[in-house]
């Protein structure tokens, strides 16, 4: 599993609320005027404890607002996005986190998957994330992070643009509208699956903060080649490096490959 330098997952302490029930803007939610609702065990409605990573439906099930769709015919009692409209499943997600930076350190806010697009607000600053379920977003937020380490993050997540409608008789892929977007397609229902009412809208994969020095490693690529009937192997490694500082970075870059021969004993 890839590990980034000083990476912190933001997978707890999230709140969520339906966008139509929140009277504040993203800027207001992430500044101290008015104070945002702090993550608590009993949040004040319309806010509820959120499942991040997860979907809107996952959060609603977690809070028992709707029944678990995978038991009996309970999915029938959950309103479909085609009936409710996209606003019904457009949700705010909110959290706070601590991150203080030293001199010449840089901070990224990373989303590994959002379905379908989002407006991110961090300490009053707005950043729009483009559509697409299967893409990562890495936002440099060095200049936005509060020096005292206390940061407010709100994410307004929008459903796919073409959630489609489900024919009464169900069927393969509903009315196929979901295929117009770059998102998962089973959510309109298939021959083996009932429709997913929110079309899997949400911050569905990992959210993290990573802190690096002036130079950041991006997407290494490891390839092996062989000769002599697999008795000889070569590891080919390519990386991207980004220097974010205002001066040329004189660096040493190293690669080390180890194997664990026994528990806790590595061969270099």
């Amino acid at each position: 599993m890839a590990e980034q330098h000083r990476k912190m997952s933001l997978d707890s302490g999230w709140l969520a609320a339906r966008s139509t029930e929140v009277e504040f803007s993203g800027t207001q939610l992430t500044t101290t005027h008015p104070p945002p609702p702090p993550p608590t065990t009993s949040p004040i409605p319309p806010w509820m404890n959120a499942l991040v990573p997860g979907t809107v439906l996952g959060t609603l099930v977690k809070n028992k607002v709707i029944p678990d769709p995978f038991y009996g015919l309970q999915n029938e009692s959950i309103i479909d996005i085609a009936v409710s409209g996209r606003e019904h499943y457009t949700f705010w997600f909110f959290t706070t986190f601590h991150c203080s930076l030293l001199e010449n350190q840089y901070c990224d806010l990373n989303f590994r998957g959002i379905n379908y697009y989002a407006d991110v607000y961090l300490n009053g600053h707005e950043i729009s994330l483009d559509k697409g379920m299967f893409r990562r977003h890495s936002l440099e937020v060095t200049d936005i992070i509060h020096p005292d380490g206390h940061n407010l993050l709100a994410v307004l997540v929008h459903p796919p643009n073409h959630p489609g409608t489900i024919p009464l008789e169900g069927g393969q892929g509903g009315d196929h509208e979901i295929g117009k977007d770059v998102t998962t397609q089973y959510v309109e229902g298939w021959d083996w699956m009932a429709p997913i009412r929110d079309r899997n809208t949400g911050i569905w994969d990992e959210v993290s903060i990573s802190v690096t020095g002036p130079v950041k490693i991006i997407d290494p690529h490891l390839v092996s080649s062989f000769s002599d009937d697999y008795k000889r192997a070569y590891l080919h490694t390519t990386i991207e490096l980004e220097n974010r500082s205002l001066s040329t970075a004189e660096c040493s870059v190293s690669i080390q490959v180890t194997t664990e021969v026994e528990d806790d004993i590595c061969l270099v």
Partner: protein
């Protein structure tokens, strides 16, 4: 011999690509699919130090030495797979996702994939109407020796078939599809369990998407060097 350090100078506010000199391994422990041998994994650590600052970034990943070949057999018309030169009889399962509300935990992935391995499977096919699976999924497949057949997001919803007729030209935004495909490849490409990329479910993507995917996923020319007999000097993983 498995540790190497190089000096670099990177201009301010710039992004560069760097390729290490290749690392040599004598008689490496190979990664094998479930039932054919051990799933040997090496830990690769890359560190960048900046003079005057110290350690700037670190990246690590488990890596397995293996070579996967696949082609359509002329005699049978079926797809054949070889791993490390050995033919393998594929016993596969179809996979959409671990949970319909995307409550995807490492524990759940581990349980699901171990179950596949316990069933004596050696491949999982990630169906195009589901997810491009997550790194945690692939990590479990690395550990348990499940080869992964990963499809992109083309199904009957985007091929002009069905009632009502679906959009015949694939997703509306082809550039977005390709952007997502490229980013997904970068996310998953270092996992030894990743065996095959497929354009979509039971069909070929629209021509422009298919052509772009084929170009992007083609063999790098470096690995196409051949000796005087036309035989590749090295065989690509």
């Amino acid at each position: 011999e498995h540790l190497q350090t190089q000096s670099l100078s990177i201009p301010s506010k710039s992004r560069v690509q760097y390729t290490f000199p290749e690392l040599f391994f004598s008689k490496p422990n190979l990664w094998w699919p479930n039932g054919m041998g051990k799933q040997s994994l090496y830990n690769v650590v890359i560190v960048i130090d900046v003079i005057g600052f110290g350690e700037s970034d670190l990246w690590s990943h488990h890596f397995g030495f293996r070579k996967i070949e696949t082609y359509i057999d002329d005699a049978t018309g079926g797809r054949l797979f070889k791993v490390n030169g050995e033919r393998i009889f594929i016993r596969g399962g179809n996979w959409i996702l671990s949970d319909g509300l995307l409550r995807l935990s490492k524990k759940r992935y581990n349980t699901d994939i171990k179950f596949h391995a316990d069933m004596n499977f050696n491949m999982i096919r990630c169906w195009g109407g589901g997810l491009a699976e997550r790194p945690e999924f692939y990590q479990c497949c690395d550990n348990y020796g499940l080869l992964v057949w990963q499809e992109f997001w083309i199904t009957g919803d985007v091929d002009g078939r069905g009632v009502p007729v679906s959009n015949p030209k694939g997703p509306q935004d082809h550039d977005l599809f390709l952007f997502c495909a490229r980013d997904t490849v970068k996310l998953l490409r270092n996992h030894p369990s990743l065996a095959l990329w497929v354009g979509g479910n039971e069909q070929i993507p629209p021509d422009d998407i298919n052509a772009a995917l084929k170009i992007d996923l083609r063999l790098h020319p470096y690995f196409e060097h051949a000796d005087e007999n036309g035989k590749p000097i090295r065989e690509l993983s």
